[in-house]
């Protein structure tokens, strides 16, 4: 892949995986033989100014964050929200916005924020406005 611009092929074929995968639709990411040309092996972490932090104490596993994350960065396994994939999260904030718990189980913090500190200072339940 050290070709210069002028050496690019007119048509290019990229393989997502090294070797065959049987039943890709039921093979989870951790079990896939991703190739170097699969964007899964790349990172957009440096796009972020803010990052979501997950507090599992309040999570009800509703999976709103999973369905609406544009970047496949909410890791859900066996119907449980497990955490955030910080290699692929772009920090859009949708997950925190759609999280329905009170207080929220996902909140946005500055990228450099320490996770333990954020969890220790997690906001209290908000009173309903009337």
């Amino acid at each position: 892949m050290n070709n210069g611009w002028n050496d690019f092929e007119i048509g290019a074929m990229l393989r997502s995986f090294d070797g065959a995968v049987n039943g890709i639709a039921t093979t989870l990411q951790e079990d896939r033989p991703y190739s170097k040309s699969n964007s899964f092996t790349a990172s957009v972490a440096d796009w972020r100014i803010e990052k979501p932090i997950f507090n599992k104490d309040y999570c009800i596993d509703c999976q709103f964050c999973w369905i609406y994350c544009p970047d496949i960065s909410i890791i859900s396994r066996d119907k449980k929200m497990v955490g955030v994939d910080y290699d692929h999260c772009k920090g859009c904030g949708i997950c925190a916005e759609v999280c329905p718990t009170n207080p929220k189980s996902l909140l946005m913090f500055a990228e450099q924020e320490d996770e333990d500190k954020a969890l220790a200072g997690w906001p209290e339940k908000e009173k309903k406005e009337n």
């Binding site: 890709i24 170097k36 964007s39 790349a42 596993d61 970047d71 496949i72």
Partner: protein
């Protein structure tokens, strides 16, 4: 026909293994990828995919990377439809000749295109595919603008939106033309299934995609895709804006079966005023100036009229 994936609720859906990958270059908060994830995760079938040039294609196939875990092809701006139709025709021919290596596997053929690629520039290609009756699904990622080239108006751009080629200013309130009614046009092709979907209503989306994939013949899906960059709202608000769109009935959710029978699939409990939807986006900001009040009024009247029309058609069963 292959067995349909069981998706009773969101928890069950969340056990899906995505075939669309991160570290693509779509903007943070882009609805294109939310739609693609919902479409792909609606099935476990093998997929043969195509995309026309546009944000989705440009951002998910940046050499030397691909973000697709399925067979995927891109050729040009106008021909995502014919690329997949060609693959489908080849599949049928090989099947007939008994030359398929895995004859028991029945892939689904799906093409994605933006509104520019679909409503305008690739329109005759799509029309041809539907007229020829290919067994495929065409999904429009409808963000009502040529987003990837910097926000030029398309025939899907709604009245009053400010775009780079129809900007609002001292003498103009922006786009003057009505949004093209692509669903009616595709239904008029006699398509067995035509539907409008929105990513915030994931259950309605999954139901329609599953129905569409199980349908024999060319299926047309128009997916509302809120664009944080061109509609001008904060990336975290993509779902909130989409909710305003479906709940104000600016994007009504419905389907048309066999070119005729129309079903409304979502009725908001509280219909919100159209101005709440428009006011949440920078592209419509200027409509709130006193001199543009007539545009706002016309907007609400048009949405009311269109909703009335859909309801009457549903009632009449035609």
């Amino acid at each position: 026909m292959s067995e349909m994936k069981k998706i009773k609720n969101l928890k069950e859906f969340s056990t899906s293994a995505d075939r669309f990958e991160g570290a693509n270059l779509l903007c943070p908060g882009c609805a294109h990828s939310i739609i693609v994830r919902e479409v792909l995760n609606a099935t476990n079938d093998d997929l043969i995919l195509a995309a026309s040039t546009g944000c989705l294609e440009v951002c998910t196939a940046v050499y030397p990377y691909t973000s697709w875990d399925a067979s995927w092809i891109h050729i040009g701006f106008e021909n995502g439809s014919t690329a997949v139709a060609g693959a489908e025709a080849m599949y049928k021919a090989l099947k007939r000749k008994g030359r398929l290596k895995q004859p028991d596997r029945e892939p689904k053929f799906v093409a994605f295109g933006g509104d520019g690629a679909s409503y305008d520039i690739g329109f005759q290609w799509i029309s041809g595919c539907f007229e020829r009756g290919h067994n495929m699904m065409y999904v429009v990622l409808d963000n009502e603008v040529y987003a990837n080239t910097g926000g030029q108006r398309s025939s899907s751009t709604p009245i009053g939106a400010s775009t780079t080629t129809a900007p609002a200013g001292r003498v103009s309130y922006g786009e003057k033309m009505n949004k093209k009614d692509m669903l009616a046009i595709m239904a008029a092709h006699g398509s067995p299934y035509v539907a409008q979907v929105a990513p915030n209503k994931w259950k309605d989306m999954v139901k329609k995609i599953q129905h569409g994939l199980a349908t024999e013949g060319p299926v047309f899906i128009n997916a509302m895709s809120a664009c944080t960059t061109e509609w001008k709202f904060l990336p975290e608000d993509t779902i909130a804006i989409s909710d305003l769109a479906t709940d104000s009935l600016v994007f009504p959710l419905y389907e048309i079966i066999d070119g005729r029978k129309l079903n409304i699939t979502y009725r908001p409990k509280n219909v919100i005023p159209v101005k709440d939807y428009l006011g949440a986006q920078g592209r419509f900001k200027h409509l709130f100036k006193p001199e543009n009040k007539h545009v706002l009024d016309e907007w609400q009247a048009r949405v009311d009229r269109d909703w009335e029309y859909l309801q009457r058609r549903e009632e009449a069963g035609v």
